[in-house]
């Protein structure tokens, strides 16, 4: 006598029926061995559900709250900072243009990188990435890129505290890195969207 496989027994526990379920049920009704096996399966699942809840040994709220606060600061910086930096760049450009009749290469490049970054963020927001379900691998890649963008943003915040000359070089490097990462993130979402025909 062939008994029901574990897969067949598990399938009998699922809501709805699958192909083969009727045959499996017919066998179950006439087989005490499989009935006992199904009972043991029910009991095992019940015991799993009854396992005591494991509790964290450390309070992780202080770290979580600190991270949330930092994220809020970063967001504020991204909004007001972009406007502020753009304004500052415009003023700087005005001063330099007025004085030299030209624009310093560093500032112009920073301005271009910022504009490119803003354009990519706009493109990204059009995909509504937060509302999309990604497969595990893509989600992992997107998460890693977002983490790196967040790190660059924190470094941009820090770079603002540097001396003028060093600051421009560092800020330009970071804005370029940010553009590269955003470019990759847009690629991830666009590729994913085209793969599923969205």
């Amino acid at each position: 006598m062939t008994h029901l496989s574990m897969e067949a027994l598990l399938s009998l526990r699922e809501v709805g029926t699958e192909p083969g379920d009727a045959t499996a049920r017919a066998h179950l009704e006439s087989c005490p061995g499989c009935q006992a096996e199904l009972d043991r399966l029910h009991q095992r699942v019940a015991r799993l559900k009854a396992l005591p809840a494991l509790r964290p040994t450390r309070d992780r709220w202080p770290q979580t709250a600190a991270r949330v606060r930092a994220e809020r600061r970063r967001r504020r910086f991204r909004t007001s900072g972009l406007i502020g930096l753009a304004a500052a760049a415009s003023i700087a450009l005005g001063v330099v243009v007025g004085r030299n009749g030209g624009v310093s290469v560093g500032e112009q490049e920073i301005h271009q990188a910022m504009e490119r970054s803003q354009a990519l963020e706009s493109a990204l927001s059009e995909f509504h990435p937060e509302d999309r379900i990604l497969d595990g691998r893509t989600a992992g890649i997107a998460q890693a890129l977002e983490d790196r963008i967040a790190r660059v943003d924190r470094e941009l915040e820090m770079a603002e505290l540097l001396e003028h000359q060093t600051r421009d070089q560092q800020v330009l490097k970071l804005w370029r890195e940010r553009v590269g990462l955003l470019d990759a993130l847009v690629d991830v979402h666009v590729t994913r969207a085209s793969n599923v025909g969205l």
Binding site: R44, V45, L48, A53, P56, R58, W61, E71, I133
Partner: protein, 178 residues
Amino acid sequence: MDSYLLANAESVVARARAGEEAALEELYRAFETPVYNLARRICRTTEDAEDVLQETFFEVCRSIGRYREEGSLWGWVRTIAASKALMRLRRNKYRDTDELQEDVTGYRREDTALRMDLEAALERLSETARAVVWLHDVEGYTHDEIAGMMGKTPSFSKSQLARAHQRLRRWLGEEVEV
């Protein structure tokens, strides 16, 4: 479950959306244990589970504005926690084989006849198998949902569950001659 874990969920969510840190902490305190429990059942170490706990609530705090109140609050938080825990498994790139588990825990083939308690048997399963067992049997996710979260097929989830139960049955000394 929401009202059991958090009596005034609606007003807490509204305050959290407004950015009130005390409300975010109320959410954390309400769901801290079930989130940690889920993470610890899936992850290998307490450190990983604690990291998942933090990642989950960071995401909850960041995304609370996007919670649409269509399903339960716990269901929403739980899905974030499950995704973070599975992401942690992928990141750690555990060698996901039973042989490794046996190496790590010191079990040998001959031990399989010994009766284990359920906690030990669950711990002995591979990460993937344990995650599927926990998400399906305890948290109540369907194979389709698990497959979506893992980036695998529903058939993969079903076969993992079946193999895991065969092992649990053997390790728990439930095998009987029929």
